[in-house]
């Protein structure tokens, strides 16, 4: 690989940090130049991540754009980054949403704009690093690094109960991570090679099943809190409701996927027998998440809280698909990760638009917006349809694959779970269309009484790529599915037919 190729990944990961440093060095002034730099750098990051897609050769069996530099050989960790199909998709999702997030908060953030932009850029780097890391210590560093910028975003620029929400978010996710750290250390000391490297651990042969159980739970807890899996979900509604729009977009768009990504990349392949044993439970929790999340949505009066619970439901589908352990289901789950990022990110974006105009998230304060702001209504409808999985939008393909793959799964008794999960299709239509009607239909009243300004150019520019993605992925999802085919197959192979347990002596 050429120099550029081998260092491209690092460049993409750290480019936002460069932007953050630049902003930090500039004088405080008004926010204009900070936002400009943030937008510029996030856009650049997206542009130089495009070669990652075009240069990705599926089916090569290794990690693309791999780079390994020794960091602390005595301690066993190195700077090892690389992408497989799954990581590539989420990577691109992150870089795609990056500039859109900066654009979305252009008017809304007025104080401490420089700190805000720095937080956004650092967050982007942390997420990109989490996705690209192939070394457990590196992964953990980036994983934790995601927490602080998000905490700041919620706590400084959020709504009334922002401190509570920010602290809740931080502590909740941190508790899980700490247990994961312990598990990482255990792996290091017992991997036989004193290495934190992911590839090494993967090839080192398995830990014995009883220990695997605890290790898996430690990892799974951290990821399950992040996803969030029912019943560990209660931080999410508060975080979303209190966060500023951009925070919600990036939280729902990417951060939640880190949890599911952790399952696919780390928790399940490293401990396949434990994963297999726990798969039915996770599937059931996924289904509970779908149904419970949907029911919660029906009971909400706050728009952002409603969409937050819909995230619980959507990611329930993802967890169901992952634990079904068939290629169809897992492919669908990975696709849904991307889809959810796009559609729920778009939902939060649009709710942000409405909030900027009316300063209320309460559903009862709305009505008849479609009459006064038809563009908002039309685009919101498209995003709504994507969220409920209408064929032709991106949501359908992922949902369909997850359900049919789960139904066909022999690894877990999939059929009843798929049937239960499919009721999510009905409930999704119920709550989303009910929300849509309450806000947009009917005679213009309350918040819409004196007219609402329709979409501005900036807002169109922010929305257009998302709408395009919704339709494009809906009609042509195959390129994404082809990219993940190989890692998905390898994943299913490894978890449902795990390699032999290590013969080496277990410690002590």
């Amino acid at each position: 690989m050429s120099f550029v190729e081998s260092h491209l990944l690092t460049l993409v990961i750290f480019l936002p940090v460069l932007g953050a440093v630049l902003i930090a060095l500039l004088p405080r002034g008004e926010g204009g130049q900070h936002k400009g730099i943030a937008f510029l750098f996030s856009l650049l990051t997206f542009l130089i991540s495009i070669p990652l897609w075009t240069g990705f050769r599926a089916g090569s069996g290794r990690y693309a754009f791999e780079q390994r530099t020794e960091w602390a050989p005595a301690l066993g960790f190195s700077y090892h980054v690389g992408l497989d199909g799954v990581a590539l998709l989420l990577f691109l999702l992150t870089t795609f949403l990056g500039p859109l997030v900066v654009l979305s908060s252009w008017k809304y953030i007025q104080e401490r704009v420089n700190l805000y932009c720095i937080a956004l850029l650092l967050l982007e780097t942390a997420m990109l690093g989490t996705l690209g890391a192939l070394d457990l210590v590196l992964f953990y560093v980036f994983w934790e690094a995601m927490l602080i910028p998000m905490y700041l975003l919620i706590g400084v620029w959020g709504s009334e109960r922002r401190i509570y929400a920010a602290v809740k978010f931080f502590l909740f996710t941190f508790v899980g991570s700490v247990l994961m750290l312990l598990a990482i250390f255990w792996l290091w000391s017992n991997a036989g090679r004193k290495s934190f490297d992911y590839v090494d651990l993967l090839n080192a042969g398995l830990v014995d099943p009883s220990t695997q159980n605890w290790l898996f739970l430690a990892f799974a807890l951290a990821f399950a809190i992040k996803v969030p899996v029912w019943p560990l979900h209660t931080w999410l509604p508060d975080a979303h409701t209190e966060a500023p729009a951009a925070g919600s977009i990036i939280l729902a768009g990417v951060m939640l996927k880190m949890g599911t990504y952790g399952f696919v990349r780390y928790a399940m392949p490293l401990f396949p027998q434990a994963a297999l044993a726990w798969a039915p439970t996770i599937a059931v929790l996924g289904v509970i998440g779908i149904i419970y999340g949907s029911l919660m949505c029906m009971a909400q009066t706050d728009m952002k809280r409603l969409i937050a619970y819909s995230s619980v439901a959507h990611l329930g589908f993802v967890m169901l698909g992952l634990s079904a352990l068939t290629p169809e289901a897992v492919s669908g789950a990975v696709l849904q990760m991307v889809n959810h990022g796009i559609s729920t990110g778009a939902l939060f974006l649009m709710v942000g638009f409405l909030y900027e105009r009316t300063h209320t998230r309460d559903l009862s304060a709305y009505g008849g917006v479609a009459k006064v702001a038809p563009a908002i209504a039309a685009t919101f409808l498209v995003v709504t349809l994507s969220s409920i999985g209408l064929p032709g939008t991106n949501g359908f393909v992922g949902e369909f694959l997850v359900l049919i793959g789960t139904f066909a799964s022999r690894t877990i008794g999939g059929a009843p779970l798929a049937v239960a999960g499919a009721t999510g299709v009905i409930l999704g239509a119920v709550y989303m269309l009910w929300m849509y009607q309450r806000v947009f239909f009917g005679p213009p009243r309350k918040a819409a009484e004196h007219g609402i300004p329709d979409l501005t150019v900036r807002e169109w520019v922010t929305l257009a790529p998302i709408l395009l993605a919704i339709v494009a992925i809906g009609f042509v999802p195959q390129p994404l599915l082809s990219v993940v085919k190989e890692p998905v197959d390898a994943f299913v192979q490894r978890v449902s037919r795990p390699p032999p347990v290590r013969k080496a002596e277990v410690e002590r």
Binding site: W235, C297, E328, S331, V397, L401, I426
Partner: protein
């Protein structure tokens, strides 16, 4: 035969929809009309060319447009199959669709949202064609949900009215319940047969259990889309949309999708005779249920809506007893005359400036001659008092039901005591009664609207509709008449050139034959006689009550059957029942769960409870640090003493 132009059929209306939807607002009105109409017309012409290309040698056209998605062993292509069944349906959809587009130009002319309307209408045609032409169940499902979406958009077209918006939402949600069943059916077939391709399903050997389960689940989808019990409740509310929409979607095309699906998968259903019986029974019950309700409705569109539900029930009877050709024949003829009826109703409403209530109509024959005549023709067609198209199709279904042998080997219980040979004749009897009711309420509708004297307010001056609306009416009325050719019994036309035009002959070999053998040749004369009699009885009853007396007829009935009529007028309280039993408990459950589980249990007990516990323990522990240095010293001394004890004495 593989072709490369078949995709144009659904694609052209899709492009039309895109153009009208995205830029229609800023284009001149004429351009919008032109684009919308042209796309459907072109689609019709492509379909026609294909249709004429079907002959002995070429049974079907097929096109694999592109591989939509594939994962694992599932491969879903966007592919289309144009055979005799789907080809005929394509012509019906595009043909009747085009006529309704033309009609809409007149009907929606003054509505500011006309460009949206035509976009949605085009989108609907595209989705319906995808449904009809789809060569696998997933492609069909795309169309299935697509028409549901268009239904939602069009029913709630005038969205500033809360009620109309709710009606649209109700349609979508109830349809989704059906779609849930459809999806499960797809899953079953995929996991058991390894394919979602319709052709492969239709040629596979399907075990009884698998077939029954899959057929049943798919049929649940059909009850949603085709408004059968228990999911028909959205259709009457769907009348909130513009009347051409009711004509196209809720009479001619979308609601027939369920029937089409059963006919398309005839092999699957034939492999599950128990489910076929269920289909026929559900169809029968639905038919009589809604026919009864239709007799007591005062809104002209509601009468037609319940009539549609009832006629759909007939279609399901047809396919349920194994006479797939009969069910689909009625589908086609029903499209003609029901569309004509609805468009006629639309002309009436348009001419009365929005009046939909029958009690406020009357005597319209004097003001709207074209509307009246076409409505009359269509009413004759549906009630079958003269042998027009509807007569043959409906009668054929009943005859097939009477003589079917598809149930002769089924038993009521698994142990096999009572054979269901009586089911066919029972369906026939009930169906004939429904035919009587159909005649009765349709003629009531006609008489109350067109006969007698005008009962409406002085301020409204009824007038005829412009030609752009009446010409489609005439065409559809003509088709209702000409359509009789499709339904002629083969014994009448055997050997003549007309034989090729009969639907039964045309679809030879398309459908699977039910087990238990085909019904034997039966003399149609008796059946026709009874059908005519039943139709005339309905007409006679209606004539006696309504022709001269107008609304007095209703009053007389109410005097005799007061509570019954009231219940029927209130749609037998089904919506209220669903609301009590399903809707309200569901919302209460949602709110309850939120309060109890999320707020109290998870958040209260664990998420906030554990920190509260820790805080309480800290508060307790904090009391040690009270700032009293002497206390600190004393504790230190005690600690030292303890340590000394441990180290010196215990070790």
């Amino acid at each position: 035969m593989e072709v490369s132009w078949l995709h144009l059929v659904p694609l052209l209306p899709l492009i039309g929809a895109a153009v009208c939807g995205l830029v229609g607002k800023w284009l001149p009105k004429g351009w919008v009309y032109a684009v919308a109409l042209a796309s459907v017309l072109l689609s019709f012409l492509v379909g026609l060319r294909a249709f004429l290309g079907l002959d002995e040698g070429v049974q079907l056209f097929h096109q694999l447009a592109f591989n939509w998605f594939s994962a694992g062993s599932l491969r879903v292509d966007m592919a289309f199959t144009f055979d005799r069944l789907s080809g005929a349906l394509t012509l019906v959809v595009t043909g009747v669709g085009f006529l309704i587009h033309v009609y809409s130009v007149g009907y929606m002319d003054e509505d500011p949202g006309y460009w949206r309307y035509f976009a949605y209408l085009n989108l609907f045609i595209a989705a319906m064609l995808t449904l009809v032409l789809g060569d696998n169940l997933v492609a069909m499902f795309v169309g299935w949900e697509g028409v549901g979406l268009c239904s939602y958009l069009l029913i709630g077209f005038w969205f500033t009215d809360e009620e109309k918006a709710s009606a649209g939402r109700k349609a979508f949600v109830v349809n989704r319940i059906g779609d849930f069943g459809f999806l499960i059916g797809i899953f079953i077939l995929f996991t058991q047969l390894g394919t979602v391709s319709i052709a492969q399903i239709n040629s596979a050997v399907i075990p009884l259990g698998v077939a029954s389960l899959a057929a049943l689940c798919l049929f649940i989808g059909a009850t949603g889309k085709s408004a059968q019990i228990p999911l028909y409740i959205w259709l009457p509310d769907a009348m909130a949309g513009p009347t051409p929409v009711s004509a196209l979607i809720h009479a001619a095309t979308m609601v027939t999708a369920g029937v089409y699906m059963v006919a398309r998968l005839s092999h699957l259903y034939v492999s599950a005779p128990g489910v076929m019986a269920a289909v026929a029974v559900v169809g029968t019950i639905t038919a009589i249920w809604s026919a009864l309700i239709a007799t007591s409705q005062n809104d002209i569109k509601k009468v037609l809506a319940y009539s549609t539900v009832s006629q759909l029930g007939f279609m399901f009877i047809g396919v349920g007893v194994g006479a797939f050709f009969a069910g689909t024949l009625h589908l086609i003829t029903h499209a003609f005359f029901k569309a004509c009826l609805f468009l006629g109703a639309g002309a009436v409403i348009h001419g009365l400036h929005g009046e939909q209530d029958l009690p406020r109509m009357g005597g319209l024959r004097k003001y709207m001659p074209s509307t009246r005549t076409t409505f009359l023709i269509a009413t004759i067609a549906i009630t079958g008092i003269l042998p027009l198209s509807g007569f043959f199709s409906k009668d054929e279904i009943l005859a097939q039901a009477l003589h079917t042998r598809a149930f002769s080997f089924l038993t009521l219980t698994p142990s096999g005591s009572m054979r269901l040979t009586w089911l066919g004749p029972l369906i026939y009897a009930v169906g004939s009664f429904v035919a009587f009711l159909t005649s009765f309420y349709m003629w009531r509708c006609y008489f109350l609207a067109f006969s007698g004297e005008y009962r409406g307010p002085e301020t409204v001056h009824p007038h005829e509709s412009p030609p752009v609306m009446t010409v489609p009416l005439w065409i559809l009325a003509g088709l209702s008449v000409v359509g009789l050719l499709l339904g002629l019994p083969p014994s009448w036309v055997h050997g003549t050139a007309l034989e090729h035009w009969t639907w039964e002959h045309f679809t030879e070999g398309v459908f699977a034959r039910p087990r238990g053998d085909a019904p034997g040749e039966f003399s149609p004369a008796l059946g026709f006689g009874i059908a005519l009699l039943v139709g005339w009885l309905g007409w006679a009853g209606s004539y006696a009550l309504y022709f001269k007396r107008g609304l007095l007829g209703d009053e007389m009935l109410s005097a005799r059957l007061g509570p019954v009529r009231r219940a029927l007028a209130n749609k037998l309280y089904v919506d209220e029942l669903y609301d009590r039993v399903i809707v309200r408990p569901l919302w209460a459950l949602a709110r309850g769960l939120w309060r109890v589980v999320d707020a109290t249990l998870i958040d209260g007990l664990f998420v906030n409870g554990i920190p509260a516990l820790i805080a309480w323990v800290s508060a307790m522990a904090r009391r040690f640090q009270n700032g009293d240095v002497q206390r600190y010293a004393a504790v230190t001394a005690l600690g030292v003493a303890a340590l000394l004890y441990v180290f010196l004495v215990r070790s």
